[in-house]
Amino acid sequence: MINHWMFKCKDISHLISRSMDQKLPLRIRIGIKFHLMMCNLCLRYKKQLELIHKAISKLDTDKEEIFPVTQLPDQTKEKIKKNLENH
């Protein structure tokens, strides 16, 4: 009976991600909590996703750091400059 409404690890991994984007219904939140109390691997998964979220926001303090800077071609620069002058 209990097994009937209990989540599998596979479902939990999806629901953990979803809980980061949306407030889940109480019944589901309880189901997740219950599962995490008994499942160390899913608990670790959850903590790692939270850590990744924090790490990404930390990178955000300087966006240029995250994505390598590509030079705007000189030709385009000149073209844009000209267009700016003409406006």
């Binding site: 991994s13 980061m20 903590k47 926001s57 930390k58 994505f67 390598p68 800077v69 400059k81 406006h87």
Partner: protein, 185 residues
């Protein structure tokens, strides 16, 4: 405010890289930079100096990018996303239980956030994500957009959006794990 004629040299590369990462097309990214600067010139008087010039220009660029993506993806993207990815299912057995499960990264995971080598791996993994997943994840985690907005921008269902975010996070996790553990060996 600096003179508009200096904008291209001061912010051109930054704005271009910012756009390039999100639209993945050189010509489009260049057009977006031009539209942004021309738009900025027109709305110059709206710049109140509450934010830096760079932040102001970036916010105009963001608006242009969202507009561009919205037009481009007017057709649903569904077929482009491999929703039934075997890669993800690989982690679980037929009963839906972990096969090996996530590995332990550190005795004190919070402390990883202070390590540059760890953050470098996070950065590299973000750059390696499949581009569309990276786009959705960036809007969510970097820009802090709600899933509702992301759905609208990419014209996808909410369910599809959640699946994409789930896949992106799962891939990030796997990528970080492989690279981080390898580094520690």
């Amino acid at each position: 405010m600096s003179h508009p004629s200096t904008w291209v040299d001061t912010y051109g590369d930054y704005l271009y890289s910012f756009a390039l990462y999100r639209v993945q097309d050189n010509a489009t990214a260049q057009d977006l930079v031009q539209d942004t600067l021309l738009g900025a010139l027109k709305s110059k008087k709206n710049f109140k100096g509450q934010s830096s010039e760079k932040t102001w220009l970036t916010s105009i660029l963001k608006y242009k990018i969202i507009d561009f993506i919205r037009k481009k993806y007017r057709e649903p993207l569904l077929e482009n996303f491999d929703l039934e990815s075997t890669a993800l299912d690989d982690h679980f057995d037929a009963m839906g239980k972990w096969k090996t499960g996530p590995a332990k990264w550190a005795s004190d995971p919070e402390q990883l956030l202070e390590q540059k080598s760890f953050l470098d791996i996070v950065k590299k993994c973000l750059q390696k994500l499949p581009k569309k997943q990276a786009g959705v994840l960036a809007l969510r985690e970097l820009e802090g957009e709600t899933t509702q907005t992301i759905c609208k921008v990419f014209n996808i269902s909410t369910t599809n959006c959640w699946v994409i975010l789930h896949r992106a996070r799962s891939l990030m996790r796997k990528c970080i794990e492989i690279n981080w553990l390898k580094k520690r060996e």
